[in-house]
Amino acid sequence: MSEITAAIDEQAANTLFDTAVGAVGPQSRSGTGNLGPFTASYTVTGTLSNGDVDLIPPGTIRIVDLRLDWQLDLSFGFDLSSFLPDFCLPQVCVNIPCVGRVCTPRICIDWPTVTVPVSFGDFVKATADFGLSITLQGGVWKVEAVVQGVPNLQFGASTAALLVAIGLAATPVLLAIPFIGPFLAVAVNAILVAIGIAGITGFLGPILSPFVSGLRIPVYQQPQQFVVLPAETAVDPQVDIVIDQITAAVAHNAPEDELVLGADISA
């Protein structure tokens, strides 16, 4: 048995995780991804908020409906070469008296890549299981809830609106291209429809998963040299103890499941 025991029930655990998850704050990531034939560079900002905590003995903390609010800034590149055949003016040669044979160069038109910015925000939910990690690093004891595996993200129906947002952003840009603009707009929108919800979740999944899959939620953090009393006067200095050992577990103490921390101390 530990010298010091501290325990909380699920209600207090919910309060603890509300605060701890909220304290993680907004996080941002950047990268590139592929949506169908299109390439997109992105910057995404995600903010987590707690769901419902379920303590599962002997060592699992499950958070149901852990919510990630995300804001995605995409820069979509439409490579027109994907839609239009290469167009080349062939080499033409003529024989000119007194000059000889003169040839024009072969001229090919390189279709540009049209870049379209798109901003979109939504949320996903996940049910994540966390294990307990206890570390002593740099003289600080930490107990963290560490997510196990990669939780399955539950996209809402509104996520499909990202396809509409891309279409709405791309259409006026493509329509502005002389002669072939309408054709390009129709083609791109047709491709977006073909990509569908499965394609969009396949695109967003790898972008958003790291916000949850690498999650470590602080449960306890105290210096090993723990201050019992602060210094009060020149003759009443600070009083410290040493926290020699920390344990953490989820225990079933009927009728409750409780998160239990133990500590051994010395003067």
Binding site: I4, A7, I8, A12, V228, I241, I243, E258, A263, D264
Partner: protein, 226 residues
């Protein structure tokens, strides 16, 4: 039975943890255990607390004294440390064992043949050095309980309440009672300055607004809250 019971947060500190906390306070602030008048303790330092001599007519500078306590050892109910038969550890109570050394500066006083002067002041600080310290060491047992108090800064804390004191092997009985009375006051005053914040009793884990306790049971201090 759940640890938190009808509350949401539970903390418990075993008597070993409580003794470690008391040891930490006494180690870092040893002056809480040593008190003396200027001939013994000229100034207050981290090590010792300087106090006035006991004024007494005809004793220039007053009676010099020192009280030195050893670190108290706490035993929480149920009893695991033997007590003198005069003391019983009640349910929910605690016992304290410690050593006390009381010293007096014994001087041979000379009678002043001159007539008494109106400006004689026996309470002015002694300027003489310590001559001969006469000391006695006593083993003291006490029983009592916990009291909820505020530590410096206003945070929730506990301290130790004395209900009874017993000194073993002192005779005659009147002297024993006198010393027990003296030590009751000294111990209560000294122990009341040792205030253990609840944050230390939970090693900083989980915020607690106390609603139940602190109470002593199973060799532990237990408290619950939200």
């Amino acid at each position: 039975m759940s640890l938190t019971q009808a509350e949401n947060v539970y903390i418990a500190a075993h008597e070993d943890a409580l003794n470690a906390l008391v040891e930490a306070v006494c180690t870092d602030r040893p002056r809480l255990l040593v008190y003396g008048s200027p001939a013994f303790v000229p100034t207050t330092t981290v090590q010792e607390t300087s106090m006035a001599a006991i004024p007494f007519p005809g004793v220039a500078g007053g009676i010099e004294w020192r009280v030195r306590l050893s670190r108290p050892v706490i035993d929480l109910h149920p009893q695991s440390v033997a007590l003198p038969p005069e003391l019983a550890l009640a349910q929910g109570g605690l016992s304290i064992r410690l050593g006390v050394e009381i010293c007096l500066d014994c001087r041979r006083l000379r009678i002043d043949p001159r007539p008494p002067r109106p400006n004689d002041d026996d309470t002015k600080p002694a300027t003489h050095p310590l001559r001969e310290a006469t000391c006695c060491k006593l083993e003291v047992f006490a029983v009592g309980g916990l009291q909820r108090v505020a530590a410096a800064g206003g945070q929730d804390a506990i301290t130790f309440r004395i209900d009874g004191v017993e000194i073993v092997d002192v005779a005659p009985e009147e002297v024993e009672r006198l010393l027990e009375c003296l030590l009751f006051m000294i111990l209560q005053a000294v122990l009341a300055t040792i205030r253990i914040p609840l944050t230390a009793l939970r090693a900083g884990a989980f915020a607690l607004a106390l609603t139940v306790g602190p109470a002593i049971e199973d060799d532990q201090v237990k408290a619950r809250g939200i």
